[in-house]
Symmetry: C2
Subunit: 377 residues, 2 copies
């Protein structure tokens, strides 16, 4: 197994190169490179149509979109958000002037639930201004969304979803995008829809959409409204060109993701000491993430298995390591997040995306199997 | 004079299209789209060399670069910055958690000086943590920079320059980039060096550079250091590709800017009621901005002249309108900035950049002359 080409976690669903060349040529011909050009406008329209949401506001990346959204909502005080998430979630909320209160997550699905959010309120005596769940690994359940909405309503708090993982996830016709006051998506190179860098905010609230459009750039327009602060968060035309081509390819990307995921599941599900994290809780999944837990009874630890895989040229990654409860500046406080703590030491994310063929998946699984058959030290 | 093609203020110095196509092709072949790829690394090296500064850290845009820099500096308290500036300066400092104190500017050069910065301290009783001058219209004087450094030293405050306008401006070999703790530049489509969107932070401070590199992305690297907050501020490879081509063309862009500027000056300097704002205070200017003041004795006001020019298809712009002292949220306080107040009602910026030929400049000047000869109402 001396395959020389390393396998990475990152999804790279890249558009057809000739199509990209044609799109870039139109930008140069038009000489309209940024400041809400025609391609950004078209990308926003098509995304709104695809996601079934009234407003899509494209931005330079998903992290900045979350920061701008939280800031434009004009909130001050605490925001309840999971400790088990990519750092961007929590740090963007801090940049927006909110005070993150870290909640634990469900052991099965790895995501904050209405119950774990409520339990986190024991960590604060201040006002909860917002609840910011993460659609972890693209998880979407309408039932749970109702639970979050009820909690937000009870607390008079704003509800905002970090849906960076969740483009295309949903239940039947109802896709992530219309939850709470707003949701944000990422179009980073590693996502199913790739603008190299990019992201957007989605909302069904007309007044809030106007506030976000005002807050996300400095160009005075007749429909500007008062917002707490403004920043340059604009998406360029080149980013939108990539995004539009990505939208054209999205169905086939999702189908290929589902096939890869099924191949992984067939080989890993039931392997002793490995818990394959399935997406059964989400009716329509984008299958973007292939995630497993290295259980206590597995012969070696998560960190050791990661190193073993790296030695085999398989660049699996610990997610999320460290957890936000152990990362500065949030580690200055003690948080009661035992599930997160365990997951940070058990979860591995496996290579997926368009560069990973079934043979590659077999190679990954053989490498894991080679260790699984050892005796635990 | 029924020329149908409108003339815009924006500079659009675009790279050769074939060269751009070749650069984009290498990105697709390499499949490395963002996360500090080889083109960003090369762009940073070449910029550092060009500007004579130890560290260049490219980011998604100049506004975010200022926000990240001010945040990474770990400051709390007041920051003295001019009221006469693009909103991004002040709002980025607010997003970084600083409290802007608005200073007035020099009537001749339109920029905050060490004296106007010191005068602004009357508006605050809190600690001044930072001074953030703007290199307005690309202005650079080493003498004044020394004055700011002395004031910052006296107050134990950090000094940071918004040099968004000032790429290539300087005195002999000494160019903007190495002033204070850091400077930020913009590579917006309207700048002499154009990445569509883009910007960078420059510094000679090794420890601060490490802090900024840590703060500007979420990718753990061995040389990460503790920073207050992190955010995704990454520049993509496509942005860097545009920037590298822009660097190749920079000398010819600057020469063309100087020619356009001289042509404007020859026609406008001395026109009654018009004050052509020359760049004589800056030994090496990028001549990016063609700026004039509509004086009291001119037959019509700035706003009326702007409308007159628009009617002639000349999209001149008021800069900066409104001033930051009149824009939310800063207008909640009364500021003593009479010079700024006057400039906001006198300054017009005229069309320049690569799409403006001498004939276009003649057309602009004829349109102004047509009004100048009227009797004042």
């Amino acid at each position: 197994m001396n395959d020389p080409s390393p396998l990475y976690v990152g999804q790279l669903n890249t558009p057809d190169r000739d199509a990209a060349r044609r799109e870039f040529r139109t930008i140069f011909e038009r000489r309209f490179y940024t400041n809400h050009g025609p391609l950004v406008a078209e990308f926003e329209r098509r995304l709104a149509d695809r996601l079934g949401v009234a407003h899509v506001i494209c931005m330079t990346n998903g992290t900045v979109a979350l920061m701008v959204g939280a800031s434009a909502a004009g909130l001050t005080g605490d925001v309840i958000t999971p400790a088990f998430t990519f750092p961007a979630t929590v740090q963007a909320l801090s940049f927006a002037g909110l005070n993150p209160v870290l909640a634990d997550v469900s052991p099965q699905w790895h995501s904050m639930t209405p119950d774990t959010a409520r339990a986190a309120m024991a960590s604060t005596s201040s006002r909860v201004a917002a609840i910011a769940p993460v659609r972890m690994w693209g998880r979407f359940t309408g039932e749970e969304e109702k639970g979050f909405a009820a909690l937000a309503n009870e607390l008079d708090a704003a509800l905002m979803f970090d849906a960076a993982h969740a483009l295309g996830a949903g239940e039947g016709d109802r896709l992530a995008g219309g939850g709470g006051l707003f949701e944000v998506f990422s179009f980073h190179a590693t996502k199913v829809l790739n603008c190299a860098e990019g992201g957007c905010l989605t909302t069904n609230d007309d007044a809030f959409a106007a506030a976000v459009r005002t807050a996300a750039n400095f160009h005075d327009r007749p429909d500007d409204v008062d917002v707490p602060l403004r920043i340059n968060a604009k998406m360029s035309e080149a980013q939108a060109a990539m995004g539009l081509l990505g939208l054209d390819a999205l169905e086939s990307v999702l189908e290929a993701n589902a096939r890869r995921y099924a191949h992984y599941r067939d080989r890993l599900d039931g392997m002793p000491g490995i818990r394959f994290v399935d997406h059964a809780d989400t009716l329509v999944s984008n299958h973007q993430y292939v995630v497993m837990e290295v259980e206590e009874r597995f012969p070696i630890s998560q960190a050791e298995l990661m190193q073993h895989l790296h030695n085999d040229g398989i660049i699996a990654r610990r997610y999320f390591y460290p957890g936000m409860h152990e990362a500065p500046p949030y580690n200055e406080q003690d948080w009661n997040v035992p599930v997160t703590d365990g997951l940070c030491n058990r979860v591995l994310q496996l290579p997926s995306g368009e560069m990973i063929a079934n043979d590659d998946i077999d190679r990954v699984c053989r490498s894991i199997e080679a260790v699984a058959t050892r005796r635990k030290a």
